[in-house]
Amino acid sequence: MKQLKVKIIKKDNISDSCFKLSLKSDYLKKTAKPGQFVSVKCSDTTSPLLKRPFGIHKVTSHGIELLIKKAGKATQLLSQKKEGDEIIVLGPLGQGFEIEHKKNDILLVAGGYGVVPLYFLADQIIKKNKGAKIKVFIGGKTKNDIFCAEDFKKLKAELYFSTNDGSYGHKGFVTSVLMKEIVKLEPKNCVIYACGPNPLLMAISDISKEEKIKAQVSMEEYLACGIGVCMGCAIETTQGKKLVCKDGPVFNAEEILWKIPENLNKAIDQRINL
């Protein structure tokens, strides 16, 4: 892990709310593993103050690529950077996905921007395991929240979509689509890799337990330092408190002790209605 000043060699606006930054760095290209993230200084002033974490989306011939949602002031400022500008990046950070080489039925489950690290993972799995059959399940609130479908198609992955409002793919939660496919497969040959909002990851943990399928989930928390000194991003696990930035962001689903969210009943009701 290093703090680097890197050049933006390409910037693509994907939509009004989303852009890609291609960063030049031999170091990041060589060291980045799927599921790891980088922390980026988004302003030159004290506002916003802290770096922002972004999952590594791709490794390119020159460095790495980030896919970023304009979610607040920091990402808004970052979106104004131009090709040729330099930014300060700390990374690669955290523990990424552990590729299960002996499992051939690879189930990637993304909620919204959860596709970001899963694309990098899919790309690596294909390179390392020729027998891998990758199914990608992408869920979002509406069709505007579905990203990267074309990229996954190029990897010859099978794609499944769902949206809460039915504007694209199955109407409902991505987990229902996932369950329909899981029943056709042998649990021993399967592994789930998931990234997305906590309610999705919690549902994946349940599925993992009930269907006896190994699952790895990439968690999100507010981060301050990104390197394990501030203890800000601690979560509860079966082995006590762990840090999302240093011990994660990827954890085995079975080790997470989920907090029951206040709106869980509402979420379950919604799942039943859909």
Partner: protein, 309 residues
């Protein structure tokens, strides 16, 4: 290295006045991957408690305007595990190791001071009397924090003083009516130095969810947002006590450090800025050195309290 930055805090001679602030630096292992932390005047560890502590529920950090609020709640392994686990690393350091401690009873403060006193590689103890995210024990004071009560502050420092000859630093809270009153109590009780300020109690709200952002509802505000408040408090304290003041509060540059020194601080601690840039401590040391060279300042201590008013 020139001697322009050398200063004294209690019995300690520091090669420069820049330290890490407790809770923002772990025990230094992680930051040592970025720069040689021996370049700092001293390192102050994360606050150690008697027993293992789980800390507060998430979310525990949130960014606010030019600052952040944390409610970690002194998560840590407890003093025995700390001594076992970190000894090898800390022993090898050439810079001074200062251990920060907090407790909820006089007895625990006593035991911890005794335990630390036995360790020759530990050069000083910072008594964290002011973490806003924990309660410092009802038996100690009617106030939540020891550093909100001059009598309790005095009592703890006297106890610690009795059980160690090492340099003792009292870390004070800004969440008081008059910080100078507490600082005086600390000095009278025998504190060798005063660290100020700890974080300001604060909260953040999520309008969408109509909930507090932090799991603990409240936390402590730090970062550049609190620097002007800290400057005033350091200035006030310096007018009332003779012991050295170690300034904390939003320091991100050598210029910030100099502002505090002019207001009466002998040294500074870098906290939140380390999260923004792990190299901050090293950069401040280098820039202070350059400053003294350029301005032909023989020793930085000539600037302590040199504010012209």
């Amino acid at each position: 290295m020139s001697k322009a930055l050398e200063i004294k805090i209690g019995k300690l001679k520091l090669q420069n006045p820049v330290m890490s602030a407790s809770g923002t630096f772990g025990c230094g292992e992680e930051i040592n991957n970025f720069f040689d932390i021996n370049k700092l005047g001293a390192i102050i560890t994360k606050t150690i408690t008697m027993e293992k502590r789980q800390g507060n529920p998430s979310a525990r950090v949130v960014e606010t305007a030019s600052g952040m609020i944390n409610s970690i709640g002194l998560e840590g392994p407890g003093i025995r595990n700390f001594l076992k686990g970190k000894k090898d690393f800390l022993k090898k350091l050439k810079t001074h190791v200062i251990v920060s401690i907090s407790a909820t009873s006089v007895e625990d403060f006593k035991i911890m001071t005794e335990l630390l006193d036995e360790q020759s590689y530990i050069k000083a103890i910072e008594l964290n009397l002011s973490c806003p995210n924990v309660s410092h024990g009802k038996t100690l004071s009617k106030y939540k924090l020891i550093a909100q009560d001059p009598k309790a502050t005095e009592k703890i420092i006297k106890i610690a003083k009795k059980y160690t000859k090492k340099t003792l630093i009292a870390k004070l809270s800004p969440n008081v009516t008059d910080i100078t009153e507490i600082a005086k109590a600390a000095e009278n009780a025998g504190a060798d130095a005063i660290s100020a300020i700890n974080t300001l109690t604060a909260m953040a709200v999520n309008v969408e969810k109509r909930r507090p952002v932090l799991g603990n509802i409240f936390g402590g505000l730090s970062g550049p947002a609190i620097k002007p408040v800290a400057l005033k408090m350091v200035y006030d304290i310096s007018k009332k006590v003779k012991v050295p003041i170690i300034a904390i509060g939003g320091i991100i540059s050598a210029e910030d450090a100099l502002e505090f020194i002019l207001c009466g601080a002998s040294a500074v601690q870098v906290g939140t800025a380390t999260f923004v840039d792990p190299f901050t401590g090293e950069n401040i040391v280098n820039d202070l050195e350059k400053y003294c060279e350029e301005k032909k300042i023989e020793n930085i201590s000539s600037l302590i309290g040199a504010l012209v008013v």
